[in-house]
Symmetry: C2
Subunit: 439 residues, 2 copies
């Protein structure tokens, strides 16, 4: 359990894991810097590289309609230059050491990240700190990047999977709600954004108390903290009396809008997403829902894969997914198929959902689903990027950092009865259905 | 250097790497089993997982026109069941332990692979050995999987990137040459394949002397060899006097066909691939070509990214690539843009290619390009999947396994003059140009 009330300037050891011989294989430590900036690191024995993420508590759901796409636009603009570095300088710094360097924007957060050899970590900290605290956001850069983003939107419009998932979100959350809008914005909204509004958005949201630096790999916590303090200390960024802002809370539960929506596109395949409302991110039922999702459509042994692909040959790609926000969630099934198979695909998906809603899953499926989740979790731990993401999300969007053993125990504790109850609850709810394909 | 002439039944240590304290951090060992099956492993200190690949020396370039798509069809069919296991049994085995389990087909090889916790490696070896040696390939499975593949082809047809790269290959190598055809086949060729022909193809190509098992991670070589001998010993597969077949050689150099080809598709973006003939896979110039490719379009600091995206805002995605086969290779630039920008994109790409052909690259770019290749190489070594692929490809398609230090030395040895010579040679050659987009 992560303790939120930690004094500024102090460091706390969150967890220590030892191997059977007593040697420390992983240690998580957390420091709160002035201004409320949190630094969380995980030292991994045997690693030679490190992955750093700078997480900002802002995403597309924080945008008013006229700011639609601003979080993502800003993510692009931060690569364009600071008082000290041009766009080329930023690119050169990490390219020259072979680092992987990128960023992504989601509905509830933005993350800038780099994976580098441990000796290059100070460089990565410095570049990221410079970008986040000292971006210039010139009018010229806004104009050039606007064109790039309009092209990126066109690219998403050519991707059937992006189109159908955006349409599904629009139906589920409502076209006028921030959760229902696409992250990248529309041609109209991007054309309408100007430098002044983006700059205001930047100054409002890129604040130390809304930010987390998470680093995992070959590192020393105190050294990383010193580097972060220097890199993020530019332009008095780490000043003030703020304490870290906790996970996002909204006063009222977001409602899902069941219903069917279709879009005609000149694709060869029809792409379908069919889903129902499920639970918010920190709901205790998420572990049982994870086992259910795995049994239903989480691997090649799952019911949907076996029935739709193996037995009936209806589709190449079929899977189920869960998606969680602070105050709402959905569970769904995604399939792409030839237009001639659409009716049979829909009938088969509905039959499988009805079966699982009526009877739950079998004992074998429960055991297998738990094994699959446990194995995937342990395999992911070898990778410093996965660990960086685990730390960053725990700080930013969860109430706590569950230790691996705790997560394992929660998975192990899931019962057939819990899964049955959840399946009967969720899959009996009204459908949200999005279909994209030729007329 | 890997010694090809190794006696069947013997084991050889190919390389041993120690850290500064003298502790072995990696060891590569190779055993040739009866029938000519090669087992190459790399033991990685500190790993908890292992990745196994079963490589078969067959791909789409081994197909006659009427067999077009057979290698990939066969890859699918091997998951459908053996004398001992149904399709569901195969899926269940690796899903239950959380393993990542998949396969891919290329023009010159097919690979089945799994990443698992070390304790589950015996299971992965057994399942893969069973699939590869004892597939049933029933008529029913052929029919069901045919539908799945037709859907997969439709999915590729909806992916602008796949469409433009397939079109580029068709122009470069010729629509009637095996290298110029798509890996998955066409609706017509897939419809025309029957069980008897696929079964003959399977029996002809899935032979021990054409196969390599490569494994990297937490493992013991002798134990892996014993497991492979048992799993692949089914149905007398490991019998006979064959010795391993060396890398693919062709008697005559494949010719590239310059020229322009366009396809009209109702996409929002125009996708372009512009390239030239370069060098075959084992050509000594590949290291200098790698540095050149990096400087030209290998990262965000590259000339193409800086000029096309950062300075002119013409496109979201732009990069250069090299592609090598046994006897031929190409180098090219890939861009997606809005139709209104196409002329400027093409003019800018051609200008950058002409500049680099005339003047080579700068000293800074040379240093940076080497750093980027070196860093990427070292970062990749933490990952058992990357190491498994390195071992498998070295055995199957290269003449030798270069040790990491040797690769580093080859990169370090690249001179400005070599890069200049290669740029002047390659980028002065006639264009191969593929364009896909709206009318």
């Amino acid at each position: 359990m992560m303790e939120r009330m930690q004094k500024v300037g102090t460091t706390r050891t969150v967890s220590t894991v030892r191997d059977t011989g007593g040697v420390v294989t992983s240690q998580v430590r957390r420091t709160v810097l002035p201004g409320g900036l949190r630094v969380v690191t995980e030292q991994m024995a045997g690693a030679r590289s490190a992955t750093i993420g700078v997480w900002v508590d802002v995403g597309s759901r924080d945008e008013t309609p006229s700011l639609h796409g601003a979080s993502h636009f800003l993510e692009h603009l931060l690569f364009k230059g600071t008082h000290e570095r041009s766009a080329l300088d930023i690119s050169v710094a990490l390219d020259a050491v072979g680092g992987e360097f990128n960023a992504f924007t989601a509905k509830e957060y933005t993350c800038f990240h780099a994976r580098v050899l441990d000796e290059d970590l100070p460089l990565a900290v410095d570049v990221l700190g410079d970008m986040v605290t000292s971006s210039l956001i010139t009018a010229e850069d806004v104009e050039a990047e606007r064109e790039v983003i309009l092209d990126e939107i066109a690219m998403h419009d050519d991707d059937p999977d992006d189109v159908v998932h955006n349409l599904f979100a629009e139906q589920a959350w409502g076209a006028t709600s921030p959760l229902g809008r696409s992250i990248a914005g529309t041609e109209e909204s991007i054309t309408g954004l100007d430098r002044a509004r983006i700059l205001r958005f930047y100054r409002k949201h890129y604040r130390p108390e809304h930010m987390v630096v998470s680093v995992a790999g070959s590192l020393d916590h105190a050294t990383v903290v010193r580097q972060v303090r220097k890199a993020f200390g530019r332009r008095d960024f780490l000043s003030g009396e703020q304490t870290p802002v906790g996970p996002r809370r909204t006063s009222r539960r977001v409602r899902v809008h069941p219903g069917q929506v279709e879009a005609t596109r000149p694709f060869e395949q029809v792409n379908v997403v069919l889903g129902m409302e499920s639970y918010p991110r920190d709901d205790d039922r998420r572990f049982a829902l994870g086992v259910l999702n795995t049994a239903l459509g989480g691997g090649t042994s799952s019911r949907l894969f076996q029935e739709i692909r193996e037995r009936r040959g209806l589709a190449y790609s079929v899977y189920s997914f869960t998606s969680h926000h602070a105050d709402a969630g959905v569970v769904g099934v995604s399939v792409g198929c030839l237009p001639s198979k659409l009716d049979e695909v829909l009938a088969t998906v509905r039959l499988e959902l009805a079966r699982v809603a009526a009877d739950g899953i079998t004992d074998d499926e429960l055991v297998r689903g738990k094994g699959q989740l446990r194995g995937g979790l342990v395999l992911g731990l070898e990778d410093s990027a996965s660990r960086m993401i685990r730390l960053g999300k725990a700080e930013l969007v969860h109430d706590e950092l569950l230790e691996i053993d705790e997560v394992m125990a929660k998975i192990d504790a899931v019962t057939l009865e819990e899964v049955r109850t959840i399946a009967a609850d969720v899959f009996a709810r009204p459908e949200i259905l999005a279909i994209v394909g030729p007329a």
